[in-house]
């Protein structure tokens, strides 16, 4: 059982590293970073307590929001999805990503206290 899981994972990683373009790998690295940051914040909250709660919320939501926006960016710049996003060029996607992030971080900064 575990054998097959391991083999699936290794197969997946191999295919990943070969088939994905560098651009996408860069975005994926960013996604991983955001994920880890959010997870660590949550861990702190579990271990130490929710004081100050507003700061925790703003930090956590920042991670979640950034993750979502980065995923959107990844989807939109993937050349394999070009058919779904005919009117949105990668540059446009990036510009949208930047704008949305600005709005998100404005709210996050307001709430961080």
């Amino acid at each position: 059982m575990s054998n097959s899981v391991l083999s699936v994972i290794s197969r997946f990683l191999e295919e990943y590293s070969t088939t994905t373009s560098t651009k996408l790998k860069v975005v994926d690295a960013y996604l991983l970073y955001i994920l880890l940051t959010g997870a660590l914040q949550f861990l702190y909250c579990l271990l130490v307590g929710t004081f100050p709660f507003n700061s925790f919320l703003s930090g956590f939501i920042s991670c979640v929001g950034s993750f979502i926006l980065a995923v959107c960016l990844r989807i939109q710049i993937n050349p394999q999805n070009k058919g779904d996003f005919l009117s949105i060029s990668p540059e446009r996607a990036f510009a949208d990503f930047l704008f949305a992030n600005t709005v998100l971080h404005l709210v996050v900064m307001n709430f961080i206290g």
Partner: protein, 605 residues
């Protein structure tokens, strides 16, 4: 002065005798120049006061006169008219100056003063020309004061002149009066303007023999005193409207000792209108609304109108009188409402005191006490007994039972100074009863046993003899007497114990070590990111140093910096403002940059 309702017009403010004398004092002060001389002398004469030292005033006028100034001539001429035997010398030049001032090009004030001087000095003037000049000036200077001056000027002209145009102005001006709270009508320019308007309107109307269209009038330094004086004189002496003031002499109270109701009926200058006849149209009791009088005349007795009200034998209480003043067709506001009080004397009868056993097994011992003596022996009541009191309050004059507003029973502890007050209530037959249940009421007495003096207090607005009567002494015995810590006068006004305020405790924070560790931990993925990016080969080799690129990156960095500053210093509004500016720049630069990138990408592919 008059409420703005057409029905019950009642002047509520008028010049009482003290007001008139106060104004006279104000106007009698010594004057230093022609203008104040004018105000003082003419104002005083309008109030009916006497100007002292006519000769001295005349000398003063002649010495101060400047024959080349229209104003100076006006003041001197008017003042000399008010005092007898004073002639101001007039020369041809003076006359010419004055006549020249009457033209369309002079201001309204100039015209008014010139015409006034000409008529007071007995010089001829061409009335029609004056009317023409006035009409032209009214068109040019459409303010209230100018029109008032026009009215006053017109009243000096000959009656043959066509003054209809000017008369219309009175009606226009009345429309301009501001309604202050439905009670006062006044020009927004103030008291002086309103007073002058009243004086001018009546002067002109008397002159031309046309009733002025004024239904309500209104009014409440030296120039102001003068204006008020001339207005009051105008209202008292004109041919059309004379407002009537009806007031009671002393308090409006009638009783057996003082059975007549006396009324003063005067005009606004407190001069009695003795030719009028005064009638009570109706009078009814406020409480029961039953009519007492109807169409009863007052008799004139030495300047005061009297009516013997007690002869109608009214019960004590308040009565609403409607009084009508007739006799002169000019009288205005001649229906007045007055509140009259009829008071009487009370006596206490059938005062019975008794101590009743609660279970009614022992018969009551009733003691009768007569006012104003005191019961000979004290009464004793303990927790098994009630102390009872009953009495009647009777009107001395009519024999009827009364229910005054205040009937209290006061118990005063002679030793401790405590006092407790109860209310005695009348039953359906107007018999007052009071019962004291010693056991039930012990909390009010703080369970202090002892001898209490019992007082009966009776009072009312319509009673002439309120009663405070020490009826008896009562010894009260309470059960469970708490060892009284001496007397505790209610410590209401003593500083209370201080309240210690507990501020909100700040929440417990985790130790700094833990926080710091986790901060480092949370920042570590960033390091990981950089490493990963480096490994992937992400680089900035295709960085083109075009201005839009640089501007974009600078702008973007500025936005990130703004976020930090927002966290530390700014509020949302300021941030949004800066964000709009920086964001706009960044957007434009970024747009440019990305477009260039897109072009490059397409050309590569």
């Amino acid at each position: 002065m008059a409420p703005a309702g057409a029905q019950a017009l009642t002047p509520s403010h008028y010049l009482s005798l003290s007001d008139v004398s106060r104004l006279q004092n104000l106007l009698s002060q010594p004057f230093t120049d022609l203008q104040s001389a004018y105000y003082s002398v003419v104002g005083l004469s309008k109030l009916g006061g006497i100007v002292p030292d006519h000769q001295e005033v005349c000398q003063f006028l002649k010495s101060q006169l400047d024959p080349s100034s229209v104003d100076s001539l006006f003041f001197a001429a008017e003042t000399s008219q008010a005092i007898s035997g004073c002639e101001i010398p007039v020369s041809n030049e003076t006359r010419d100056i004055l006549l020249a001032a009457v033209s369309e090009d002079s201001s309204m004030t100039q015209i008014h003063r010139a015409v006034g001087a000409l008529s007071s000095l007995g010089l001829p003037l061409a009335s029609q020309e004056v009317v023409g000049a006035l009409a032209a000036r009214i068109n040019k200077e459409d303010n209230v004061m100018a029109i008032i001056l026009a009215l006053q000027t017109a009243s000096r002209l000959s009656q043959q002149a066509e003054l209809g145009r000017i008369l219309e102005e009175i009606e226009d001006l009345t429309a301009r009066l501001d309604d202050l709270g439905g009670i006062y009508l006044q020009f927004e320019e103030g008291l002086e303007a309103t007073a002058l308007f009243v004086a001018a309107a009546y002067a002109l109307s008397d002159h031309v023999d046309v009733e002025p269209p004024l239904k309500e009038k209104s009014w409440d330094s030296l120039a102001e005193a003068f204006s008020v004086a001339s207005a009051a004189a105008a209202l008292s002496n004109n041919r059309f409207h004379v407002p009537v003031i009806v007031s009671a002499q002393g308090p409006a109270t009638v009783s057996h000792n003082q059975p007549t109701l006396q009324l003063l009926v005067t005009d606004v200058m407190s001069q009695p209108l003795t030719s009028a006849s005064v009638l009570v149209e109706s009078a009814f009791a406020v409480a029961t609304k039953s009519a007492i009088l109807s169409q009863t005349p007052f008799t004139l007795n030495d300047g005061v109108f009297e009516l013997n009200f007690m002869s109608s034998q009214p019960a004590s209480g308040y009565y609403q009188f409607t009084v009508a003043v007739t006799g002169d067709s000019r009288l205005v506001a001649s229906h007045v409402e007055l509140k009259v009080k009829v008071s009487t004397e009370v006596s206490v009868s059938n005062m019975d005191l008794s101590v009743v056993d609660k279970d009614q097994s022992i018969g009551t011992k009733t003691t009768r006490v007569d006012y104003p003596s005191k019961a000979k022996s004290p009464f004793t009541a303990d927790s098994h007994q009630n102390f009872a009191m009953s009495f009647q309050l009777v009107d001395v004059n009519t024999g009827q039972e009364l229910t005054p507003h205040q009937t209290f029973v006061r118990l005063h502890n002679q030793k401790t100074g405590q006092e407790v007050v109860f209310v005695a209530e009348p039953d359906s037959k107007n018999l007052y009863k009071f019962e004291l249940d010693a056991a039930e009421r012990k909390s009010e007495f703080d369970s202090m046993s002892g001898t209490y003096s019992l007082y009966l207090i009776v009072g009312d607005a319509t009673l002439e003899n309120p009663i405070l009567w020490n009826v008896a002494d009562v010894v009260l015995k309470f059960v469970e007497e708490e060892a009284p810590a001496a007397v505790q006068p209610k410590t209401l006004y003593v500083p209370k114990p201080e309240i210690q305020h507990l501020f909100r405790e700040p929440e417990k924070k985790p130790p700094t070590v833990v926080s710091n560790t986790f901060t480092a931990l949370v920042l570590s993925p960033f390091l990981l990111l950089l490493i990963l990016w480096f490994k992937l080969g992400a680089n900035i080799s295709s960085f083109s140093f075009s201005p839009s690129t640089i501007l974009f990156h600078v702008g973007h960095a500025a936005m990130l910096g703004l976020m930090y500053v927002y966290w530390t210093h700014l509020n949302m509004f300021q941030t949004l403002k800066y964000l709009a500016i920086i964001g706009g720049v960044t957007f434009l630069a970024g747009n440019r940059m990305l477009a260039q990138k897109a072009v490059k990408r397409r050309s590569h592919v």
